[in-house]
């Protein structure tokens, strides 16, 4: 049986075929959810829902020049911008939204999300660079989109994509460095533990070597 294309599913769904919609949903939910989860945390499911609704409603505007997947990302980005704008309006920020980072908006995944420390740093750094830069990196590294597809998502020229990626990497590196530096201070306090262990052994009158009996 031939595999049905995304485009066919989308068309069918637009025509009222819920099964097709469900299949399309199944194919793209995870990546859209990831997109939002790394940025807005708990409200991700609400925004994903909006994405799919927008996809159906904006069907006419989609002419099939990019893959459905890419097109969905473009929608997602706009929904994110809309949402961020609403948040930003509450905080009265005047900057160009693209320069704004989620951290600036005081937004991040809920603190309940827990990660390995390294991932935590990375995620934190990502939130400190401008939103579009975050998107560009995620699209490129995570979702493996081509430059052309990224251009569709960001609504920019394909030629500019590469320089955007480079710039985003630089921004990320800068943030990471700062984060790591503070952590290293933490690290150094740990190193003193080597001496500690020896002293501890003395307190208990045991040899370090067989400390585990």
């Amino acid at each position: 049986m031939a595999v049905i294309s995304d485009m066919e599913l989308l068309t069918a769904w637009r025509g009222g075929d819920k099964l097709a919609g469900s299949e399309l949903f199944g194919r793209h939910f995870d990546s859209l959810y990831r997109f939002f989860a790394s940025k807005v945390g708990d409200e991700a499911d609400e925004l994903v829902q909006r994405c799919f609704v927008a996809a159906i409603e904006g069907f006419e505007r989609y002419r099939g020049e990019a893959s459905v997947r890419t097109w969905l990302y473009a929608i997602a980005r706009n929904i994110l911008r809309q949402w961020a704008w609403e948040r930003g309006r509450a905080k009265r920020r005047e900057q160009e939204l693209g320069d704004c980072s989620l951290a600036d908006l005081g937004v991040g995944p809920s603190t309940a999300i827990d990660m390995v420390r390294e991932h935590k740093q990375l995620a934190a750094a990502l939130r400190r660079i401008p939103i579009d830069s975050q998107i560009v990196l995620e699209m490129f590294y995570w979702e493996k989109l081509t430059a052309g597809e990224i251009a569709v998502v960001l609504e920019c020229l394909e030629g500019t994509v590469r320089s955007r990626i480079t710039r985003a990497r630089q921004q990320l590196r800068g943030e990471l460095d700062q984060l790591v530096r503070t952590h290293e201070e933490l690290e150094s306090s740990m190193d003193g533990l080597e001496t500690w262990a020896k002293q501890m052994a003395q307190v208990w009158g045991r040899q370090t070597g067989d400390a585990h009996d």
Binding site: M200, W204, D213
Partner: protein
């Protein structure tokens, strides 16, 4: 830059490592987009809500328990690693099982556990509240007050140790104080079975333990890359640096360093003794408002520990307690107390006051002490030490394992299909009551002994009250243990009759006289009697009442037991349908209780009375007044969360429904439903929902009512088991709904099902008869007169036998019989039947009621058919007078009656009056548009009354057409002839 490169190689930081949040979100969004269930349901029971929090190895979610209608917290562990296979998962499940065995008020309860899509989950009590850390300490509080919560925690910890588990992360963040003030130990994220599974892996996180994580529940699957330690014997720095390595493994993996015992810091696995250490640390911290063993590096901390520097303990701390804590904080585990219980006992002894003699009527000197269960016999002897307020799980009267087993087996022995599910439900509800009782019991004690906010005298009264309530509980469980089919069937109602513990709250007892020991026995007997009455055993209930009466003695007219005896007898009258005697009796008891000062009992009696009369006595004014009386009585008792408030609000909704104000009824019922749900009164909630559905049905909002009934069937099937007789009521209501909606085929299905369930449970009971009568109505409407007639012939004698000839339901049956005879042309028989119906309705409702009016109108039709014009007129006059008064001049139900009278007047030549009536009838029937035959007849009659003219001819023409359309060709031709129509 290292991290970025790793990231590019390894992949993106997954915000939700185990995909649980994602899959829950996925289901939700899918449901919203495509319809269908958006809920994630675990084990067919728990509906996942929102995430409460997450740690390194687990996430905790709020969920709703469908089967018991309460909130729970579910902890999901990370999915077991691929290489761990079944063994790791089995181990996690076994630990969950061990946790579930701990049933202690100070340990968060584990309700259920299992595995869902590769993740082990544990469903626990949901405790809204704060951690002990978050709760700011009161600088003015006494030493005792600061220590008390931790002693309670300690008791819980001891219970954990008793089942062979070790907590390993005792700290203030892991103790919750619920809104009820009870402390609970939580977060068994790192609980371990004390007995080692792999003896050689004393060291945590050894690669040899790579068959899954070394930690158990909550520590998650450790992959090889996660474990940072080397096998023993290596001289790598990490080995000699266990502190370091423990911190670099994912956080929360091995306990918080700040509370770790020395041996844990050294790298040894935690044991019950290190739990003890942590507990003592917490206690000292609470006492000093500062953590002992200086903050800062672990080394400094260990040094302080080695030197035994506890910091400044408050002077008010008894020396004995100080010593006890010091011992608990000994460096070497073997120097500490052998068990946590020993430590706690020692601490409590340190605070023991000199024993005061409790002087309260009845408690001292009760030799048998059959119900002084909470106190224990030793408390009655002056030389015995004061009882502590720590929980006493030996106070299990009425709910020990033997009793529980007896309940289960007697339920099973009835052989009923729904017995097993009902038994499970009963066990859960009784358990919840038991738990609440223990909390109240301890709370009462603490209020006096610990917090000093309550007098000894009041404590004793509360204790006596609680013991009494416990004895009633014991009687009720005994009824369950001796269950027959009736008890199993009425399990829900019996559970609803559990004595509310709020009755023993301090507020409820102020001013009330206390009971003597002889009275306590009588009260217990009466509790049994009430339970038997609920189960339908009238003889047994009466016997109990008599027995209790003899216990009380003749001179105690105003005592609580004698009042309860009278109340029970009055309830018997009500159940036997001797309504007037019963209601009046209850009213008298309530008044007597008020005079004697038993305000709580008075409130209960008034509340029950108001509920019983509402809508069922046909005396709307009295019903309203008595409801107000009840509300005032409940208010006077002024206890928080009084379930009677919900009961009365429910009754108010029913009253509105009885007088036909459906909008108001729905408003009130919806409101009280929210309150019932919020308070977890799910037994009442389902009654409210059924009444809500009834109201919707009565105002013909069929599509809104139907799903409610259906949902109730689903839920009750789940809760009580399949084919529970309660379902019969829902099916009956659904049947009536479908009749009103005109879907007769559907109605029959439901009614037949209802009959089946009713008869199986209760034989030829009222419910079955009612359902059969409704089937008769369906047959009548469908024109199946013969079938209807045969069924009625069988039903009428049963109605009479069950309810007597003057009951309103019997009257309904006679009315139906009359209608049948009328259609069959046997007018004399119809008159006889109608007269019987009339007698019954008047006896039940009084002479001024809709049903009475309608029967008069029916009689009028029959008389008219016999040509007895005068009698017909009289009957119509009486009927219409009543109907106009009750329903208003323009109510649709007046249509047929007006037509009847108009026809009679026409036949008597009273044309003017006939036209008046017929015009009204015409207008009403046209508007209602659901009685085509009546309408056609009215048009014809009106035409004849008008005699001639355009209008008359027009009416006649329409009438002829309608008759023809209805298949009544003879009558159509008659119209043609009368008006010479073409």
């Amino acid at each position: 830059m290292r991290s970025l490169d790793t990231w590019e190689r390894v992949g993106p930081p997954e915000p939700d490592p185990d995909g649980l949040t994602r899959s829950i979100a996925r289901k939700r969004v899918h449901g919203r987009l495509f319809g269908g269930d958006e809920r994630t349901i675990i084990a067919d029971r728990f509906v996942i809500g929102h995430k409460l929090g997450a740690g390194g190895m687990s996430s905790v979610w709020r969920a709703n328990d469908l089967s018991l209608g309460r909130a729970v917290a579910i902890k999901f562990m990370l999915p077991v690693a691929a290489d761990a296979t079944a063994k790791g998962e089995q181990r996690l499940l076994r630990e969950a099982q061990a946790l579930a065995r701990v049933a202690h008020p100070n340990v968060v309860s584990v309700y259920d556990f299992g595995s869902h899509e590769g993740r082990v989950w544990v469903a626990m009590e949901y405790v809204p509240g704060q951690t002990l850390r978050a709760l700011a300490g009161d600088p003015g509080s006494s030493v005792r007050a600061r220590l008390e919560p931790w002693i309670a925690v300690g008791r819980g910890l001891a219970a954990v140790h008793d089942v062979g588990l070790v907590h390993r992360d005792v700290k203030p963040e892991n103790v919750l104080i619920g809104d009820d003030g009870r402390v609970r130990l939580i977060d068994f994220g790192i609980v371990r079975l004390a007995s080692s599974e792999s003896p050689e892996s004393d060291m945590v996180n050894t690669p040899s333990d790579a068959s899954g994580d070394a930690e158990g529940i909550g520590t998650g699957a450790g992959t090889a890359s996660e474990t940072l330690c080397e096998p023993p014997g290596d001289t790598a720095s990490t080995v000699s640096n266990p502190f370091h390595q423990m911190l670099t493994v994912r956080n929360a993996s091995l306990g918080t360093p700040a509370y770790m015992a020395p041996e844990q810091l050294q790298g040894r696995r935690g044991t019950a003794l290190s739990d003890q250490f942590a507990l003592c640390l917490c206690m000292v911290e609470a006492l000093c408002e500062a953590r002992p063993f200086a903050e800062g590096t672990a080394f400094a901390r260990l040094e302080s520990m080695a030197q035994g520097k506890l910091g400044r303990l408050p002077k008010a701390l008894p020396r004995r307690a100080r010593r006890a804590l010091r011992r608990g904080l000994a460096l070497k585990p073997e120097h500490r107390w052998a068990t946590v219980t020993e430590l706690l006992d020692e601490l409590e002894r340190a605070f023991e006051r000199r024993r005061r003699r409790i002087v309260v009527v009845g408690v001292v000197g009760v030799a048998a002490a059959a119900w002084a269960v909470g106190l224990g016999a030793r408390d009655l002897e002056p030389s015995a030490p004061a009882h502590s307020c720590a929980s006493e799980r030996d106070a299990m009267t009425g709910f020990d394992d033997a009793r529980r087993e007896a309940i289960r087996s007697s339920f099973a022995a009835t052989g009923l299909g729904f017995a097993a599910a009902s038994a499970k439900l009963v066990d859960a509800e009784l358990g919840a009551w038991d738990q609440a009782w223990h909390e109240q019991r301890r709370g009462a004690c603490e209020a006096t002994r610990v917090l000093g906010v309550q007098s000894e005298a009041l404590l004793d009264r509360r204790v006596v009250c609680l013991d009494r309530v416990r004895a009633e509980f014991g009687e009720l469980t005994r009824v369950f243990a001796e269950a027959d089919a009736a008890v199993v069937t009425h399990a829900a109602e019996l559970l609803a009759a559990l004595p509310p513990i709020t009755g023993c709250a301090a507020a409820a007892l102020v001013g009330a006289p206390s009971s003597s020991p002889a009275e306590l026995e009588a009260l217990a007997e009466l509790a049994r009697g009430r339970a038997l009455l609920i189960a339908g055993d009238q003889a047994g209930a009466l016997a109990s009442a008599d027995r209790a009466a003899s216990m009380v003695g003749a001179d105690q007219r105003a005592s609580l037991p004698s009042l309860q005896v009278r109340a029970l007898r009055a309830e018997l009258d009500v159940q036997a349908e001797r309504l007037d005697a019963g209601f009046r009796g209850l009213r008298e008891v309530a008044d007597a209780a008020a005079r004697a000062g038993f305000t709580d009992f008075e409130a209960t009696v008034r509340a029950n009375l108001a509920t019983r009369v509402a809508g069922g006595w046909s005396q709307p004014e009295l019903e309203r007044w008595w409801l107000v009386d009840a509300e005032l009585a409940v208010e006077r008792v002024a206890v928080a969360d009084d379930p009677r408030q919900v009961q009365l609000a429910h009754t108010r909704g029913l009253l509105a429904q009885a007088r036909g104000d459906y909008d108001e009824s729905e408003r009130l019922l919806t409101e009280v439903l929210a309150a019932a749900d919020a308070r977890g009164l799910w037994l009442i909630a389902r009654d409210i929902r059924m009444d809500l559905a009834n109201s919707l049905r009565k105002r013909e909002a069929f599509d809104d009512a139907r799903p409610i009934y259906t949902q109730l069937i689903v839920e009750d099937t789940e809760r009580f088991g399949p084919e529970h007789p309660r379902i019969a009521h829902y099916e009956y209501n659904l049947g009536v709904l479908e009749v009103d909606a005109g879907r007769f085929a559907h109605a029959e299905v439901h009614l037949l099902r209802a009959i089946e369930l009713f008869e199986r449970a209760w034989g030829q009971s009222l419910g079955a008869l009612r359902a059969r009568l409704t089937l008769v109505h369906i047959d009548l409407s469908a024109g199946r007169f013969e079938r209807a007639s045969a069924a009625l012939d069988a039903l009428l004698p049963r109605f009479e036998a069950l309810l007597g000839p003057r009951h309103r339901e019997t009257a309904h049956a006679y009315n139906a019989s009359g209608m049948l005879s009328f259609y069959a042309g046997d007018y004399e028989a119809s008159i006889v039947a109608y007269q019987r119906a009339l007698a019954g309705f008047i006896a039940a409702h009084g002479p001024d009621h809709d049903d009475v009016g309608l029967v008069w109108a029916n009689l009028g039709e029959s008389f008219a058919a016999l040509g007895q014009g005068e009698r017909a007129m009289q009957a119509f006059n009486r009927g219409l007078a009543i109907l106009e008064r009750r329903l208003g001049r323009d109510h649709a139900d007046l249509g047929p009656a007006l037509k009847g009278r108009g026809l009679a007047q026409l036949d008597s030549g009273l044309f003017g009056l006939a036209i008046d009536d017929l015009e009204r009838a015409h207008a009403l029937l046209e508007a209602a548009a659901d009685e085509p035959v009546e309408l056609a007849e009215t048009r014809f009659a009106l035409a004849r009354a008008l005699g001639q003219g355009e209008r008359a001819t027009a009416l006649a023409r329409v009438a002829a057409l309608e008759f023809a359309q209805l298949g009544l060709d003879d009558r159509s031709r008659a119209v043609h002839r009368a008006f010479e129509l073409p």
